[in-house]
């Protein structure tokens, strides 16, 4: 039987660090994805995720509703992300956002064809822009679903929304993203046709 968050929180408070390791393992993907969504393009996602877990551990005794550990951790993660962005603002002002950092790294390893790589990079950028254009409330569930492949149940634990709300949000968000992608594909096919003509 898998222990609930609540049980693990109580064990942590009693000084059981193994219980906290279980909580970290359970939420590391969600925390990382959240950090990546807010500040990842500057390459600080991992630092932020670690910092968030440490901050959560420090203030664990102040958690009033241990069954709400997920959404509490999300709040801490967003706060740590915001702090991180503010703290690094002077440095980041001079730096271009790097949406393709990891994509580029992957393409170097797995994609041999330069052309397909560039196309995939373009689509990658497009998808991120599309996600950012979604309503604020839709963004994090979409990121958690598609980046970390989390189940609706896990997402609802982390965002604090109900399972049905997540289902509705993802259904509408996916529709919007499809439309964006379709639009892009239409443009691409038009371009190809023009190239063929030329």
């Amino acid at each position: 039987m898998r222990p609930t968050d609540e049980e693990l929180v109580f064990q942590c408070r009693d000084g059981d660090t193994d219980a906290y390791a279980l909580l970290v393992a359970r939420y590391q993907h969600a925390v990382y994805a959240t950090a990546f969504h807010y500040a990842g393009r500057y390459g600080g996602a991992e630092d932020i995720a670690q910092e968030a877990f440490w901050a959560a551990y420090r203030s664990l005794p102040r958690l009033r509703e241990p069954e709400q550990f997920g959404s509490w951790l999300k709040a801490i993660t967003t706060r740590v992300s915001a702090n991180w962005l503010r703290k690094n603002a002077p440095r980041l002002r001079n730096e271009t956002p790097l949406p393709r950092r990891r994509a580029h790294y992957n393409t170097l390893n797995f994609n041999t064809e330069a052309k397909s790589s560039s196309v995939s990079d373009d689509v990658y950028e497009l998808v991120h822009r599309a996600i950012e254009s979604l309503p604020e409330r839709y963004q994090l569930p979409v990121v958690l679903r598609y980046v970390q492949e989390m189940s609706y149940e896990e997402i609802s634990h982390f965002t604090g929304d109900s399972h049905d709300e997540i289902r509705g949000i993802l259904s509408r968000a996916a529709g919007m993203l499809r439309k964006e992608l379709q639009h892009y594909k239409d443009i691409e096919t038009d371009q190809l046709k023009e190239e063929e003509k030329a």
Partner: protein, 426 residues
């Protein structure tokens, strides 16, 4: 049959494998018959796969658990609900509570003060210019009113008295009047007294004690049986329906009725009716009257009001009330001199006394001083002055004792009644 719109709402859940079993049956059944929806599903599935493919590159690459656990910080053991809220200090809360109460308290305090002012506002009758005295103490059933209209009110302390006032005490009633002069009149139970002026009273019945300030004007008390006139004395008058009894505590009192008169001295008691000759008793225990009068003492604030209003603040100091006594010693050695006096029942501010003792040919023997505190203590009526040992060597025939008040310590004289020599037999 579900509509295409409903079915498309289930599309994403179907792709994510988050669809319920009943919904799944409906969905699959619809797709079987609907080409459009089948097409939509195809596009959606492709898009879904594409999104997963693209975004999995952002996925967490390494396990964070070891790094997180390696540098786990100390847990904050302080169980405060929120780290950002500074717990308010108790002092501040107290001040705030007080500050919040100010608008409520201020009118209440003002109201109370106003009420107190109204309550304690001196109740002065309109014609207070002719007031001759005031009530300085009242206890028990005491009624008071103007003789002309006959309406009696309850007599309270600080009530001003005008000429032609009428005062009546019931059972256990006690009253003390201060009259300008100053004189004091105590009324005991079941007495009726008309105040004709500040120096003229009419005692219809009952018992009063009068203490008259020693000045030149005479003080008159009319009774149904005769007139009592006094000069600087204290005495008690007791009038019944048959006769009147006058007991002199201090000084001299003249008693007159229709046919006769009598001059009473200290310690004398006269009993007279309308026509008979006053029957005089000597050496009655007059101190008993004083004892009784001392039970009726003025209320402090009323007395203060009386003193400021009816007693001139600057008393004449020209009088030096020197008292001289001669004591027969009959050739005995004198160990001490005993001074007796009658304590003043009301007043404060006694003068101390200097005592000069000389022999029969007025050669000084010794002198001493009695502090005012001795007279202030109303329970004492005598003091022994020891004769110094060197003076005790030869016996005298007679001692001259000169008593001089020291007005620097107080304004009030003490009238000594008796000086005796306390001796040892040779």
């Amino acid at each position: 049959m579900a509509s295409c719109v409903q079915i498309l709402g289930l599309l994403q859940a179907f792709l994510d494998d988050e669809i319920g079993s009943v919904e799944r049956l409906l969905f699959e059944d619809h797709l079987h018959n609907c080409d459009a929806c089948r097409h939509e599903l195809k596009i959606a599935r492709a898009a879904n796969v594409q999104l997963f493919e693209l975004l999995k590159e952002d996925r967490l690459q390494e396990n964070l658990v070891p790094t997180v656990m390696a540098h786990l910080p100390e847990m904050d053991r302080k169980r405060s609900s929120n780290s950002h809220v500074i717990p308010p200090s108790k002092k501040r809360t107290w001040n705030k509570t007080f500050a919040a109460l100010v608008p409520v308290l201020a009118p209440i305090i003002l109201l109370v003060l106003g009420g107190l002012l109204w309550l304690y506002w001196p109740s002065i009758p309109q014609k207070d210019d002719d007031a001759v005295g005031l009530i300085t103490y009242s206890n028990g059933p005491v009624r008071f009113g103007r003789a002309v209209d006959g309406i009696l009110n309850e007599a309270k302390e600080k009530t001003l008295l005008v000429p032609d006032s009428f005062i009546k005490t019931g059972k256990d009633g006690r009253l003390l009047l201060g009259l300008s002069g100053p004189s004091h009149v105590s009324l005991y139970e079941d007495s009726s007294l008309y105040l004709i002026s500040e120096r003229k009273l009419l005692l219809e019945q009952g018992r009063i004690f009068v203490d008259v300030h020693p000045d030149t004007q005479e003080f008159l008390i009319n009774t149904p049986h005769g007139v009592i006139s006094a000069l600087g004395t204290s005495f008690e008058v007791y009038t019944t329906s048959d006769n009147t009894e006058v007991t002199v505590v201090n000084g001299e009192v003249l008693v007159e009725n229709e046919t006769s008169f009598a001059l009473l001295h200290q310690g004398n008691k006269a009993l007279f009716s309308q026509r008979n000759r006053p029957k005089i008793e000597r050496d009655v225990p007059a101190a008993r009257c004083l004892e009784m009068a001392r039970n009726v003492l003025p209320e402090v604030s009323a007395q203060r009001m009386f003193l400021t209003r009816f007693v001139p603040s600057t008393q004449e100091t020209t009088r030096t009330r020197r008292q001289i006594f001669m004591v027969e010693t009959k050739q005995r050695l004198v160990r001490a001199v005993e001074l007796n006096w009658l304590p003043h029942p009301y007043s404060e501010g006694h003068a101390g006394y200097s005592v000069y003792v000389s022999d029969s040919s007025l050669n000084p023997l010794f002198k001493t001083h009695i502090p005012p505190s001795v007279f202030q203590d109303k329970t004492h009526t005598s003091i022994n002055i020891d004769v110094p040992a060197e003076v005790q060597t030869h016996a005298e025939n007679r001692l001259h004792i000169d008593l001089l008040p020291d007005y620097s310590t107080g304004q009030l004289d003490t009238s000594f009644t008796e000086v005796r020599a306390v001796g040892v037999r040779p």
